[in-house]
Symmetry: C5
Subunit: 366 residues, 5 copies
Amino acid sequence: MVRKITKRLPVPSFLKQRKTTKKPGQAPGTLHFTGEQRLDHVLMNLYDYDAEQLSEHDLSKIEDSKPYLDSPSKTWINVCGLHDIEKLKEIWQYFELHPLIQEDILNTNQRSKIEEYPDHMFFVLRMMSFSEDTGVLNVEQVSIVLSSNSVLSFQEDDFPIYEPVLHRLRSGAPRLRNHGPDYLAYALIDTIVDHYFKVLEKLGDEIEDLENEILQESDEDIPQKIHALRRKLIFFRRSVWPMRDSLNSLLREESPLIDEENKVFFRDVYDHLVQIIDGVENYRDMALGMLDMHMSQVSNKMNEVMKVLTIIATIFIPLTFIAGIYGMNFEYMPELSVPWAYPAVWGIMIVAAVVMLFYFRKKKWL
Amino acid sequence: MVRKITKRLPVPSFLKQRKTTKKPGQAPGTLHFTGEQRLDHVLMNLYDYDAEQLSEHDLSKIEDSKPYLDSPSKTWINVCGLHDIEKLKEIWQYFELHPLIQEDILNTNQRSKIEEYPDHMFFVLRMMSFSEDTGVLNVEQVSIVLSSNSVLSFQEDDFPIYEPVLHRLRSGAPRLRNHGPDYLAYALIDTIVDHYFKVLEKLGDEIEDLENEILQESDEDIPQKIHALRRKLIFFRRSVWPMRDSLNSLLREESPLIDEENKVFFRDVYDHLVQIIDGVENYRDMALGMLDMHMSQVSNKMNEVMKVLTIIATIFIPLTFIAGIYGMNFEYMPELSVPWAYPAVWGIMIVAAVVMLFYFRKKKWL
Amino acid sequence: MVRKITKRLPVPSFLKQRKTTKKPGQAPGTLHFTGEQRLDHVLMNLYDYDAEQLSEHDLSKIEDSKPYLDSPSKTWINVCGLHDIEKLKEIWQYFELHPLIQEDILNTNQRSKIEEYPDHMFFVLRMMSFSEDTGVLNVEQVSIVLSSNSVLSFQEDDFPIYEPVLHRLRSGAPRLRNHGPDYLAYALIDTIVDHYFKVLEKLGDEIEDLENEILQESDEDIPQKIHALRRKLIFFRRSVWPMRDSLNSLLREESPLIDEENKVFFRDVYDHLVQIIDGVENYRDMALGMLDMHMSQVSNKMNEVMKVLTIIATIFIPLTFIAGIYGMNFEYMPELSVPWAYPAVWGIMIVAAVVMLFYFRKKKWL
Amino acid sequence: MVRKITKRLPVPSFLKQRKTTKKPGQAPGTLHFTGEQRLDHVLMNLYDYDAEQLSEHDLSKIEDSKPYLDSPSKTWINVCGLHDIEKLKEIWQYFELHPLIQEDILNTNQRSKIEEYPDHMFFVLRMMSFSEDTGVLNVEQVSIVLSSNSVLSFQEDDFPIYEPVLHRLRSGAPRLRNHGPDYLAYALIDTIVDHYFKVLEKLGDEIEDLENEILQESDEDIPQKIHALRRKLIFFRRSVWPMRDSLNSLLREESPLIDEENKVFFRDVYDHLVQIIDGVENYRDMALGMLDMHMSQVSNKMNEVMKVLTIIATIFIPLTFIAGIYGMNFEYMPELSVPWAYPAVWGIMIVAAVVMLFYFRKKKWL
Amino acid sequence: MVRKITKRLPVPSFLKQRKTTKKPGQAPGTLHFTGEQRLDHVLMNLYDYDAEQLSEHDLSKIEDSKPYLDSPSKTWINVCGLHDIEKLKEIWQYFELHPLIQEDILNTNQRSKIEEYPDHMFFVLRMMSFSEDTGVLNVEQVSIVLSSNSVLSFQEDDFPIYEPVLHRLRSGAPRLRNHGPDYLAYALIDTIVDHYFKVLEKLGDEIEDLENEILQESDEDIPQKIHALRRKLIFFRRSVWPMRDSLNSLLREESPLIDEENKVFFRDVYDHLVQIIDGVENYRDMALGMLDMHMSQVSNKMNEVMKVLTIIATIFIPLTFIAGIYGMNFEYMPELSVPWAYPAVWGIMIVAAVVMLFYFRKKKWL
Ligand SMILES: [Mg+2]
Ligand SMILES: [Mg+2]
Ligand SMILES: [Mg+2]
Ligand SMILES: [Mg+2]
Ligand SMILES: [Mg+2]
Ligand SMILES: [Mg+2]
Ligand SMILES: [Mg+2]
Ligand SMILES: [Mg+2]
Ligand SMILES: [Mg+2]
Ligand SMILES: [Mg+2]
Ligand SMILES: [Mg+2]
Ligand SMILES: [Mg+2]
Ligand SMILES: [Mg+2]
Ligand SMILES: [Mg+2]
Ligand SMILES: [Mg+2]
Ligand SMILES: [Mg+2]
Ligand SMILES: [Mg+2]
Ligand SMILES: [Mg+2]
Ligand SMILES: [Mg+2]
Ligand SMILES: [Mg+2]
Ligand SMILES: [Mg+2]
Ligand SMILES: [Mg+2]
Ligand SMILES: [Mg+2]
Ligand SMILES: [Mg+2]
Ligand SMILES: [Mg+2]
Ligand SMILES: [Mg+2]
Ligand SMILES: [Mg+2]
Ligand SMILES: [Mg+2]
Ligand SMILES: [Mg+2]
Ligand SMILES: [Mg+2]
Ligand SMILES: [Mg+2]
């Protein structure tokens, strides 16, 4: 009969805070992976390309990449799986990555950011993508290290995030093959940001559904659903927002690793992020407005319940009083023996009820 | 009898999010039109003018514009219809537009913005205009590409947005005919921004109507109407706000495409946008205030209902109790046989009722 | 008996949005007066002064000002009435005002601002002043054009705003007579800003009255009054705020029209505006706090009403039940014939009532 | 019996807005004292000091300060009382203070600020101090004029604000005696800011008391008390905030009057102000939180009242109905003559009551 | 039976404001310890190290540190205990610390900050750490003074905060031993910031617990618990926030005491702080959302209570009225003698009840 919020909506796993396992006070570069193992082995795929050719290799040892890195062609190495720290250490030492970069690649609670180091540009992003089959949201942290001649990318599992870029590489897309590794880094980041639009659309659908539910006054856990939606929006906004600020800095500063001419592409990614954040803000405002609307519906219903109670009570309580009067057992009650008294009492009662109904109508309660 | 929010107010089509059809990871410049087709054919109108002359031409092929573009007179080409990507591609390639410009012209979810490219200045705006006949709000995305000697403008359908500018061109308005294409770009943008004032006025009327409805306590879906109004205000504000920031940057930076002397006109557009945003913010504050006022009216009504119930119940319940006492069937109830007992009970009841009425009056419930 | 918000408080005319009559797309400098005609004729008063002398003249043609403008003495021309566009055009063309200045003088919806043009500094302000007789708030837009040798001021009617400045000019105030026209412009603006303090005081009185009304729980349309007050505060704040920002820019930038030494006076006006805005913000916070206080009073009253109802019902409903029991007509009810049954029932009832009264006292409902 | 907010809490005098007596449009430097006279005579105390000596003098004429000002030793003149404008004018003209400084010294509604003039640095602060005897908060405006060789300070009455500084001067504190007048100005300002900490602590105590009252559900005018507290917090914050911004500017800019080496001390004052504002913000947040907590307690109580009413009514109304049935006087009611009918009805009633009690327990209403 | 908030949750001691004992107006460097004594004696531990060696010494006199400070190896002195001002003064005078540094070390109400002085860089932080045994949160103020060749650190008691750094020193960690004292200062600060993550996780657990409690509608003092949580979040945020701003300034400015190359490590600390603040903001938003959810649950319950009352009253009050009618004692009531009247009345009553039950079902009250 009554509405209750008893069953908790399942919290999506990406909303659960990952625990830090690092102990306070350890040296920078002390390595702890904060996620869960998603792959059996660390996978390393190398792509070596320039305008003329593309060669692909599965690496088993990082040292095998030497000929490609030494050649003038550009090299992209994509590493899947972050649980095997020893293996990763070999890669990092080979590329002489700063210990702070190493630490951040493993700490998958990272805020999105872009950091410049002497020989590297380091990007961290949160990849969010719906699996086309299951509709489940896949969230993982992605790192990209841009050097003067190569791109090194890390991801938690082997989700084919970069498939479309690979496809363009293979089909010989001229811009991608001709430009430097900075353009490749842009292409990777752009792919990730494009996925955000899909997530935003899904959130938009969810908001629309919820709005419909509220309007149909289906009492199914509305406040809880709004709360859950707001948590998702906050999570999404926090994933996207810092990337925007980082890109803004990147656009304003000069770096030897990023060609001035290619900045227009990074500006486009920035522009997309602004658009996405704009959309999230919009949804946040709508979520707040929906809560207001729901609360005022609850008030309205309470008002309605109160009116029914008041109308019934106001009409019948006085009438019952009159009936009570003539139910008294006094010996000397002259009205009792008047023959037309009973119909007269009925008359009085009907008049009283009609008067009160008019009063309620005047008050617009009916 | 009771207020309910059952029928959903129709959501205007411009508030519906347009779906992105672009797949994540595609190359920049991969072209997808995100709107709906509004015209049969792409229309191209060319206007070639200088202080002395104006000539107008309907182009069927973009190559036909060559003589006008090569001549020292200024050239404006207005393109209507964005669905025929092949046709548009020809135009863009002829003008050597950057692939990112091409992408943005087609993506009609764009935030308003001004972007500088090596040889072009690119403007995207959202045009909003009430049809004079039907009163329906027409929303479409408009793009303007300013070159050193020409202006290229794109719109989704053939709504005669720029009619007034054309009229001034034809009637030989000296400033427009004498100044460079940057002044023409200003004139086009100014026309669009002037329409915003009309939209703002309409929103102001809507707010006033809603305020009156609230004051007359007509219970017709107030929270839903406020919610709908807030959505419109958010949409309008999001359409206008980014243009203000872009213009601000334009005013502060130097560009070879914009004459310093003409910046005073762009400053005027900026000023108009500030005024419009000021108005929207004002309406947002008023919308919030109206919700507060409505909620407190609902509270007041509940209070009123409660008072009626309380007064009736408080007066009659004790009287009914007294009547109940003398309705008991005990054999030994000495009062029952006292001749003046019945009128005495009436007296007691009347006194009790009067006392309670005084109490309510003292409490200001009556 | 019950509180209702039926009569709408009159909205002061200055809160009503003035309609734009300008059509979208017209050329800058297309002139439309957006206010209402307040004077029969345009009035032009010329004051020519330097340290030694002051001469005053009513002009009928603007050309008559030539000798004064050509002489080294400073010249101030005050123009009252904005409805006669032809007349105004003559003035503006004589002074070669930029078309955007002309447009802004007539558009009396203007936000306050300061704009620099090649030969002029242009100020727009909103004058607000209480008529000393009627107490009515007079709101009009005022424009000031500062040139190297003269000040040109425009107002909507002939309200003697600048009387005190005139008085100082006539009485030979040395600073005013010695300094350049920039100091005169300062004096005019300062006069307008001084009036804001009076308006702020009046708003402060209104807030205090409203606070008293709330504390005395006089239910006279409190939410509506708070809403009206908030609208006034928003209007006032929006009139003052942009002037502060404009003055801030003026102080930071160099202009040939404003003597560095006189900037200390403009800084003082800036300081006054900051103080006024501070006061308005304070009142806005207080208005929000008053709404909170009122809402919690309404809650408290509802609570009180509920308690009365609950006490009465809780005491009498059980007693009435007992009376009902012994009003039943069963043949075999042994209690009915016990002689002390009737007083015993009375005793039980009194005990029950006393117990419940103690319970309510313990709950602090009594 | 019921809670009411009838008696208004007394508003402390410092919260009352002081009226401006200055008329709009008067020349800068037109002098009006906006406070109330607190002293009979203007008092002038002169302190002349350097590393070796300190001499103290009560001045009757400002000209008597000439020898001390001309000597290389530093001079501090403290002026108490602002009501005797003629006397003050003599002082100001002797020191050639700018008319805008004169105006601000008298206008005791001033926002705190620091202003640089050609030969002076001008400080205005709001002094707030609890009288040690009475616990009353003393609020007055304090002005300090720093010159290259002297400090001139003004206060509204003779409250011994600067006693501790004087004490340090007399006891030969080396830093104070060796450094220039800028260090003395710092010492005076620091003293005033130190008092703010005491005020902040007192406000903290008040908040703690109020929090306890709310938790003990003592219904004594909670919303009114929270409102009063918020007003005090706003007043305090507005007194302190502008000083922070002014000091921040002072620290960033160079001035011939303030030794770079002494800026570290002004930075310390700045730091104290930041800490104080931090505390006030904290209290503002807590005050908001307390209102939320109080409102939810009121809701809870209403809920509790409703439950009592509902339990009583739900149990007894059906029982009374049953009793009513058998109180009817129909001739043919077979139950009435069944001997065990009366106890059976009792049984039914008891069962019904027990069932309902179980239902309430299941709903956790009991 | 009813929910009440009577017992106050204990306020953790670190939330209690520490009283300032300093009197207003005292000279800078007048020393007062605002905390409570936590140790018997001041402890001084000296660590002298370079790439080759590490020597550790317990100092009884600060002068004993001379040989280590004069040698080229780096020196770290950690001082535990702040109650013995005489002892501390000796240390400070030996290091020629600025009086404002001295004051800040003792004033344990300090906001976190980084201040540059001529020969020192001064850091103040709030250390927060859970005791591993008791789970109690230990809060104390920590100061670090960085000189060109040494680090001087102060803490309130002998909590082994820096144990992990010491461990790394002893085990010969190359970066720590090779870099200058600025790297040691970084390591100390980093250790403190690492603890913040643990505190943040604990707060996250608390929020999750509270969210569960709200969803299970366990009425145990929810508003009070949310209030307590918000206070903790505010305290935590205020402890962390200012450090972020200070580090940001440090990163942007050049200082002879901090090697440009080491700034990347300070940037990492900055990054951690940003992440922590992000988390706190997230929790603040969730705490607000939880309050909304709780309030709407309370509304829902009230609604439910009202419905039960209304259903019972609406069904039985009219029926009781009918029974009352036939309980009247009029002599002429023809229905009373009709044999089927009694069952007919029962029929009418049952029909009325069924109709009303249908009505409630239609309204979705059942
Ligand atoms: Mg926002
Ligand atoms: Mg927002
Ligand atoms: Mg928002
Ligand atoms: Mg927003
Ligand atoms: Mg907002
Ligand atoms: Mg908001
Ligand atoms: Mg809010
Ligand atoms: Mg806003
Ligand atoms: Mg707003
Ligand atoms: Mg605003
Ligand atoms: Mg606003
Ligand atoms: Mg606001
Ligand atoms: Mg709000
Ligand atoms: Mg505000
Ligand atoms: Mg504010
Ligand atoms: Mg505010
Ligand atoms: Mg605020
Ligand atoms: Mg505010
Ligand atoms: Mg608020
Ligand atoms: Mg705040
Ligand atoms: Mg705050
Ligand atoms: Mg804050
Ligand atoms: Mg906040
Ligand atoms: Mg805050
Ligand atoms: Mg808030
Ligand atoms: Mg926030
Ligand atoms: Mg927040
Ligand atoms: Mg946030
Ligand atoms: Mg927030
Ligand atoms: Mg926010
Ligand atoms: Mg709020």
